[in-house]
């Protein structure tokens, strides 16, 4: 064996040194893996807490208490003009019909007793009765059992949020009302049913008849505008920048600015919308059209960036192949690059849309936080959107809105999950082509 020389480590020495370092390396690997598991564990715990909290509060929000009353639909009373027009029904005394049924059921007597009984039932009951007659005029002159929502205070009482131990004057439900409620319960007229108001009702100050239909449709209209604007513009921009634009100073500046736009806080886009569309062009406030445009501006950078990444991921050999058989630049892009990049582009678009769906701040700026009872019929009707509706409900004092808020959050989450599922489905369909 020759003398060890400088800079040369004998194999035996090398082996022992490698072995000595092994323990340290393995330990650090184990440690790293543990950190990862802890991180995932914490994330899952938070997610679990969030879901438990939303679902335990939200599921009851899908239900509410109703009372079934035998109403005598007196033709002259409900429809004084006798033409079954909406106006005539509004002039009629729907309230009186419901009230008398309620007094019969509760046995309320005297002015104070009747006043107490009248407060048990929701204001939405009259509208429900009118609508039932409009839908089915043959009910006129008959005695029918109908289900009406109870007032939110009654609802809260039945859910056990109002304690009898509290002195009567501090309670939102007085002793007479409790007596009536108990009587109705004994008669088995009170039921805990799926809340049709939540799904089919629109915004209201009365929590028992407040629903998300208006906000949901507002969200759909806003998203539709957003998608129609942002997707074609984003894809076209990405294609142009990646495939056609000369690589020079100007395109470089454009690129940097697009990337910067992605980091701009969304409320800034709201201010932009306010300044440009409402102040400058004098367009109405609160309309889904402007909401959609503002959200489109907000999601454009996301779509452009992910579309460019998707285009860049298309192997250059495919472009060569197409150009090699004489396809023009545009044909190469349209026939080969775009179809191959489409799954990635769609993923980016769906992420952008999901962001837009959950966005509140920019819409507050353009007035979509307004209290609008009517359900928007077009993109130029005033409306609101789901997250803004949630934001507003979370602000209301009534106990019942807590459940409604969580229920609306669940609807929003389901909407998001549905969108993602559609995206995954579309993507897998496109990818399955080969």
């Amino acid at each position: 064996m020759s003398e060890p020389r400088k800079g040369i480590i004998l194999p035996q020495v090398a082996v022992s040194r490698v072995n000595a370092s092994l323990a340290r390396r393995r330990a650090s690997e184990r440690r790293f893996r543990t950190y990862g598991r802890i991180a995932i564990g914490i994330a899952l715990a938070f997610l679990f807490t969030l879901f438990v909290s939303i679902f335990t509060k939200g599921i009851p929000g899908f239900f509410q208490y109703y009372v079934t009353l035998e109403v005598v639909i007196d033709r002259e009373k409900i429809d004084p003009a006798g033409d079954l027009s909406v106006q005539s029904l509004y002039d009629g005394d729907a309230r009186g019909i419901i009230r008398s049924a309620l007094y019969d059921a509760t046995g309320a007597k005297g002015r104070s007793g009747r006043k107490a009984a009248g407060k048990l039932i929701s204001l939405g009951a009259e509208q429900r009765l009118r609508q039932a007659i409009l839908d089915n005029p043959s009910l006129l002159g008959k005695k029918v059992a109908m289900k009406f929502a109870l007032d939110d205070d009654v609802d809260s009482f039945l859910r056990g949020y109002i304690s009898r131990a509290v002195p009567e004057k501090d309670r939102r439900i007085d002793d007479t009302q409790i007596e009536f409620i108990e009587k109705l319960q004994r008669l088995q007229l009170i039921s805990y049913d799926f809340s049709d108001y939540l799904i089919f009702g629109s915004a209201s100050r009365d929590p028992e008849i407040a629903g998300i239909k208006g906000a949901f449709i507002g969200s759909m209209l806003t998203l539709a505008i957003c998608l129609l604007l942002a997707f074609p513009m984003g894809v076209a921009t990405a294609v142009y920048l990646e495939e056609f634009a000369p690589k020079n100073r100007i395109t470089e500046i454009i690129e940097i600015n697009i990337n910067n736009l992605a980091a701009v806080p969304s409320v800034v886009f709201g201010i932009l919308g306010l300044a440009v569309f409402i102040a400058m062009f004098g367009m109405p406030r609160s309309i889904p059209l402007i909401g959609g445009v503002v959200l489109a501006l907000m999601t454009l950078p996301t779509i452009i960036i992910s579309s460019r990444a998707a285009i860049r991921a298309v192997p250059p050999s495919i472009r060569d192949a197409a150009l090699g058989v004489g396809a023009s630049k545009l044909q190469t892009v349209m026939h080969h690059v775009l179809p191959l990049a489409m799954p990635g582009m769609l993923t980016g678009t769906i992420i952008g849309m999901a962001q837009a769906l959950g966005e509140t701040a920019p819409l507050l700026m353009i007035g979509m936080v307004a209290f609008i009872v009517d359900i928007p019929g077009s993109v130029t009707d005033p409306g609101t959107v789901l997250p803004v509706q949630i934001f507003m409900w979370a602000d209301f004092a009534e106990r019942m809105f807590i459940h409604k808020t969580s229920a609306a959050i669940i609807v929003l989450l389901v909407f998001l999950i549905f969108m993602n599922a559609v995206a995954i489905f579309i993507r897998s369909r496109l990818e399955r082509r080969w």
Binding site: K247, D320, G324, V325, G326, A327, R433
Partner: protein, 274 residues
């Protein structure tokens, strides 16, 4: 140990040795220079490409043979800072003239690439793509005929006739490359450029492709870049040796391999470098 040949710029010839000109040229190039930015990749290449022959470009890596090949159908246009000087003519028409449209040019001068690159579409659509975009077929029957004929000429019909609707990317490497050749010949080009068509294939697939090229030279003018001198020797009529951006020597394949005139060519084909 073999002696490395010292390559000084002074070793490079200022002119090309051998037979640059032919009697029946399909394409002619005169004093072609190619630059990538400021860097000169091809210097003063003058070469005739004879009709219905195979010309092989050989030379060490980075010698510019692929660059020069890609000038012949202007595929270099896709490289942002690539600039071509000189004259490249197809039928007395300079293909780098300002008014020349690359679409018909590339329909006439087809290309097969180093790595098989079928479209991620069906075998049928791969071959039918060129005829479709150029409007070559007036009916479905005619298109079917073109697809079948092209696949047959590429020696692939027997293997894929029953599964034309399956993906082209599901074929083996050699089949994919023959599919690419079928795709190229489906638009009836006059010249086919092949950029190391066998370098990604195993020896058996390579043999099939070589056989195919040998057959195709009856009908097409073929320009091929190859790293395999055996391949060049087997299938090409003429061979051109490139070195550091210059065309050092060109001539009949037999002459180049048995009796090279230039010292660099001799060193390369005897395996002293490269």
């Amino acid at each position: 140990m073999r002696a490395a040949v010292e390559i000084e710029p002074s070793n490079l010839p200022s002119f090309t040795v051998g037979e640059v000109y032919v009697d029946t040229p399909r394409m002619t190039t005169r004093n072609v220079n190619v630059f990538y930015g400021d860097k000169m990749a091809i210097e003063n290449v003058t070469l005739d490409i004879a009709e219905k022959q195979v010309v092989s470009f050989i030379g060490p890596s980075g010698c510019g043979k692929s660059t020069f090949l890609r000038c012949l159908n202007r595929m270099n246009d896709t490289i942002a800072n690539c600039r071509v000087e000189g004259e490249i003519k197809l039928d007395d028409q300079n293909i780098y003239d300002a008014h020349i449209d690359v679409v018909p040019l590339r329909a006439r001068v087809g290309m097969v690439f180093q790595k098989p690159n079928p479209f991620p579409k069906s075998i049928y659509d791969n071959v039918a793509y060129g005829p479709r975009i150029h409007g070559l077929a007036s009916s479905k029957e005619e298109l079917d005929g073109i697809v079948e004929a092209s696949l047959s000429r590429a020696g692939l019909w027997e293997e894929v006739a029953s599964r034309l609707d399956q993906s082209g990317t599901g074929l083996s490497g050699g089949q994919q490359q023959r599919l690419c050749i079928a795709r190229a010949i489906a638009v009836s080009p006059e010249v086919i450029l092949m950029d190391e068509p066998c370098s990604a294939l195993d020896p058996i697939a390579t043999a099939r492709i070589e056989e195919l090229i040998f057959e195709l030279r009856e009908e097409f003018t073929i320009v091929m870049v190859t790293h395999s001198m055996q391949q060049a020797a087997r299938i090409s009529n003429r061979t051109a040796y490139f070195h550091l951006g210059r065309l050092v020597e060109v001539g009949e394949t037999s002459t180049i391999f048995t009796n090279p005139k230039h010292e660099l060519t001799n060193s390369y084909i005897t395996g002293r470098f490269g």
